[in-house]
Amino acid sequence: MLNVALAKGRLADSCADIFIQCGIRAEILKEETRKLVLETPDKKFKFFFVKPSDVPTYVEYGIADIGIVGKDTLLEAGADLYEMLDLKFEACKLCIAGFPEKREVLLAPHLRVATKYVNTAKKLFFSRGEDVEIIKLNGSIELAPLTGLADVIFDIVQSGGTLRANGLVVLEEVFDISARLVANKVSLKTKAAEILPLIADMRACIDGMQA
């Protein structure tokens, strides 16, 4: 049996569609339920519903053999696992955003950056040799420049609607983000006969959707 860690919500719905197309009896994922563990009727798959940021943890520890999670979460977690497949959905970008007239603040000697992605931001600015003050927020990141808490924000941008509504613009697109299939480093080898065909099926399915 394969154990699969899934992030609750929209991502889980998109995953369910792909799983069903690949012939997995994942209809159970579509049911309204408060259960955290669901098993397919043929007992070939067990799904765990976890918080998105916990998907890498469950997979790194090997409690889940595979998981599906956004690239942004993977970058932030820095977990030791295999990233096997780009599922292409939930596409967005990790961006630096701020007031349009403040483009020059990017070069300020002490830039203040508000973000949920503290580790990713640290790595990014460190690799550029820039000293910045990273301010950790848990939501409504766009509020930080409006209130003067930070000069810019570092966050995912999907449609850009929230930015526009608050008078902010993307100053720089840094990473392309989409959902990824990750695998535990041991499970990929010890359960290769179950995991590899699944990945091949999912790859074909995604390529089919792109075409």
Binding site: E60, A79, L81, E83, R180, V186, T190
Partner: protein, 327 residues
């Protein structure tokens, strides 16, 4: 009531679990001695400079550092292979010697899936070389795991020469190669491709590096890999592994063997074949080892060497609960 806590990443082992460890240690000790390995106990503290000045240095962030009375920086032993290589090169005269140990190593940066104090049982054999010696070491590793009551495991074999060979003449800078190594190690084909476009490697190297994340599986992948390179070092690495596999079949352990050419560790002293032991139900390797021919020379005497270490706590987890817990 007051609580006395331990620092993060450390734990006490209480009698029941300790007894299981004792049993596993006793089994392994008997195996090691019968195979001609002699135990050593290396110093728990070493000079920082010893480990930071060699070519294959231990990353600074991985070591517990303290200051000695005379102001020298000292560290808690971060690695047993380095300690054994230092001893073999500086204190033992024998050209050929087989050492084994049951010791703790310390990793300052560990956390998450690994502990900061790791109990290891390992063997290091100096002065032997060639595919037969490599195969015997792998087969012995399999025998040790089996003797410890672990049945569902795989020994996953790679070779650092394949990656090194592909990098030769690829035109990639050391920095770029290190970034790409990280992606390949995570089998992250997306970022491998982006990085290759950014740094612009040679055509031949690009196709080989892009293939690396998927070059794992049975022995047939070694043949597949040959089509991606005409580099001498890379090809001889593949031929070496095929030879090792032939010996492993003779030794009757081929059912435990798989190959992965995309596992490339950073800053490592390994020079040839590398391998890890993977057990179902344990999310991280229970055993790791390989050939490190250039390491002794860094301590002053050139010796070929190959060895492996078993992580005892992880091996205990791989045993599962079917083992008798009565005592």
């Amino acid at each position: 009531m007051s609580f006395f806590k331990l620092p993060a990443g450390l734990r006490d082992i209480l009698p029941q679990e300790s007894a299981r460890l004792d049993r596993m240690e006793a089994i392994l000790r008997e195996k090691f001695i019968k195979a001609g390995y002699r135990t050593v106990r290396t110093a728990g503290l070493e000079y920082y400079d010893t480990l930071a000045c060699i070519e294959s240095r231990v990353p600074q962030t991985k070591m517990f550092k303290m200051t000695d009375k005379d102001g020298n920086l000292i560290v808690l032993r971060p690695d047993m292979t380095l300690a054994c290589a230092r001893i073999a090169a500086t204190k033992l005269r024998d050209e050929k010697i087989k050492l084994c140990y049951f010791s703790n190593i310390y990793d300052f940066s560990a956390g998450g899936n690994s502990d900061r104090e790791v109990m290891q049982a390992g063997v290091e054999s100096f002065g032997e070389q060639g595919a037969e010696s490599d195969a015997k070491t792998v087969a012995f590793a399999a025998e040790c795991l089996r003797a410890s009551g672990i049945e569902n495991f795989i020994i996953d074999i790679g070779h650092v020469g394949f990656y090194k060979g592909i990098l030769e003449g690829s035109g990639l800078s050391e920095e770029a190669a290190e970034e790409i190594r990280g992606y390949i190690n995570a089998k992250d084909a997306v970022n491998t491709e982006i990085a290759l476009k950014k740094y612009g490697a040679s055509k031949k190297a690009q196709s080989a590096l892009l293939a690396l994340p998927s070059l794992f599986g049975g022995v047939q992948i070694l043949e597949t890999a040959k089509s991606f390179t005409d580099n001498g070092m890379a090809l001889s690495a593949l031929e070496h592994l095929q030879e090792v596999y032939a010996y492993l079949r003779e030794l009757g352990v081929e059912q435990y063997i798989s190959f992965d050419l995309g596992t490339i560790k950073s800053l490592s002293y390994y020079s040839g074949m590398v391998f890890t032991g993977l057990a179902e139900g344990v999310g991280a390797p229970i055993l790791s080892g390989g050939r490190y021919d250039g390491l002794c020379a860094q301590f002053g005497k050139d010796r070929t060497a190959v060895g492996f270490a078993i992580g005892l706590m992880r091996a205990l987890r791989a045993q599962g609960t079917e083992v008798d817990e009565s005592c």
